[in-house]
């Protein structure tokens, strides 16, 4: 039986890019479809704010 990973390698790549845009650029140059996600760590990575947000969860 064919494993899912084998099927993945046989299909065209469709990539979701999190983080640095430059990763998406190098794939786009090879005409790979890339969906960039505008992501940054919560509270810009500020650990004090992240802890406060955790305590104020719904």
């Amino acid at each position: 039986m064919e494993k899912p990973v084998q099927r993945l390698l046989q299909e065209d790549l469709r990539v979701i890019n999190l983080g640095l845009e430059v990763f998406a650029h190098s794939l786009q140059e090879k005409e790979v479809e890339v969906v960039p996600v505008n992501w940054s760590p919560p509270a810009g990575g500020d650990q004090e704010m992240q802890e406060l947000l955790r305590r104020l969860e719904d």
Partner: protein, 415 residues
């Protein structure tokens, strides 16, 4: 009540609000506690009074002192203002909202707006028009003369008009204006026109002669921002009932005094969280540049707090010719604000977004989490007293206000 339940309750209060224009009177008659020798200003309090005020606010204070007849020259005005014998306080502490410097003194006529759903009332002055006007810090003789005409010519006629014709539903006007290209902060052309349509026949019926009524209508027609002050009072009437709602993390007030930006959060009551006001990025009138600009100023950001203004820019592509940017960016600004709000208006709908409601209910938690700050479109005052408006543009509040509020919410509710 959980935070989620409190925020849902607040959103319901905002959406059910019925801000309605019920009349006009002098500030000293209707603003509770407004004693003689009190001057109200926009934004959060000035801890050291006159010393902390920027140029345009100082100019507007001098203008108000001249207008009230408490002084007879600029020098006397500066001396009295610095003497400590004038009580300076935020408009928001007296139920009012004032554009730019936001100065209100006891003799000034104010609109009276009532939220019919909650019964609370708010107030704002009559908008003076553009150019050299008190709210931008101008205090020359022509400015004071114009304020006197507002008090002696415009006010009695409009007061009698409203007494005869009855109340005006402001939510209905704002909702219609958003369908007609206004965002009701820096573009009020449609809303002002709709208001004139309602008032015009009644003004002419009460006018002692044709000329007095015609002059009032000409003034309203010459001033596209005539509706702004009514809209601000309506937004404040909509939001004030959530102030003090326990566990609620929504922003109830945003305001600038030209020195500091301040916010108040529903669950934290009347406490202000302030940080230095930002410089506005915008378009300048010929002869002026960013070097001339005063930091962010005015209570008009109550518009964005209530989900219009910068939050409704998708409804107003034409606004970019006044504040800068492109029509596409205007749409993007509105779309991005859904990320920091807990819901949508069920009355203020945006045609180009398939009549989606404007983003409503700014959640302090989402602002801090995303780092996405409310977008505000606003006028720019010259930093020197007495000059006036020099442009308009876009600005964001300082993140620090929201971080301070988040700390206070944890201290109060999740220590």
């Amino acid at each position: 009540m959980s935070i989620r339940e409190a925020n849902e309750k607040a959103l319901g209060i905002i959406n059910r609000a019925r801000p309605t224009l019920i009349g006009l009177d002098r500030a000293g008659e209707v603003l509770e506690g407004l004693t003689p020798k009190t001057i109200l200003h926009a934004g959060p309090p000035f801890p050291r009074g006159w010393v902390d005020m920027s140029g345009p606010v100082r100019g507007a204070v001098i203008g108000a002192l001249l207008y009230e007849g408490w002084v007879s020259s600029q020098e006397e005005g500066e001396e009295l203002a610095a003497s400590g014998s004038i009580n300076f306080a935020p408009c928001h502490h007296y139920g009012a909202a004032g554009p730019m410097a936001g100065i209100i003194s006891p003799s000034m006529p104010v609109w009276i707006v009532e939220n019919k759903n909650e019964g609370n009332r708010t107030f704002s002055t009559i908008n003076e028009g553009l150019g050299r006007v008190l709210r931008f810090g101008a205090y020359q003789e022509e400015v004071i003369r114009h304020l006197r005409w507002i008090e002696e010519g415009l006010f009695p006629l409009l007061q009698e008009t409203l007494e005869k014709m009855g109340e005006i539903d402001l939510k209905e006007i704002t909702a219609q204006a958003l369908q007609m290209g206004d965002e009701c902060h820096n573009r009020n052309r449609a809303a002002t026109s709709l208001l004139i349509r309602k008032l015009a026949p009644h003004i002419m019926r009460v006018s002692p002669g044709r000329e007095e009524g015609a002059r009032v209508l000409e003034f309203m027609d010459s001033n596209d921002h005539f509706y702004l002050n009514l809209s601000m009072a309506a937004c404040k009437a909509t939001l004030d009932p959530i102030l003090g709602l326990k566990e609620c993390t929504l922003v109830a007030t945003m305001a600038r005094n030209g020195t500091d930006f301040g916010i108040r959060v529903a669950g934290l009551g009347h406490r202000w969280f302030t940080a230095p006001a930002e410089i506005i990025d915008g378009l300048f009138f010929p002869g002026y540049s960013q070097d001339d600009a005063n930091p962010d100023l005015g209570d008009s950001v109550i518009s964005e707090t209530a989900g219009i203004g910068g939050f409704a820019m998708a409804a107003s592509p034409a606004i970019v010719q006044f504040v800068g940017g492109s029509a596409g960016e205007a749409t993007h600004y509105t779309e991005s604000m859904y990320e920091i709000t807990v819901g949508e208006s069920d009355s203020y709908l945006i045609p180009i977004l398939d009549f989606r409601g404007t983003p409503t209910g700014i959640d302090v938690r989402r602002v801090v989490e995303t780092g996405l700050l409310p977008v505000i479109n606003t006028g720019i005052a010259h930093k020197k007293a007495g000059i006036g408006q020099i442009g308009a543009g876009l600005v964001r509040p300082p993140l620090d206000c929201f971080q301070q509020a988040l700390r206070a919410l944890v201290e109060k509710y999740r220590p």
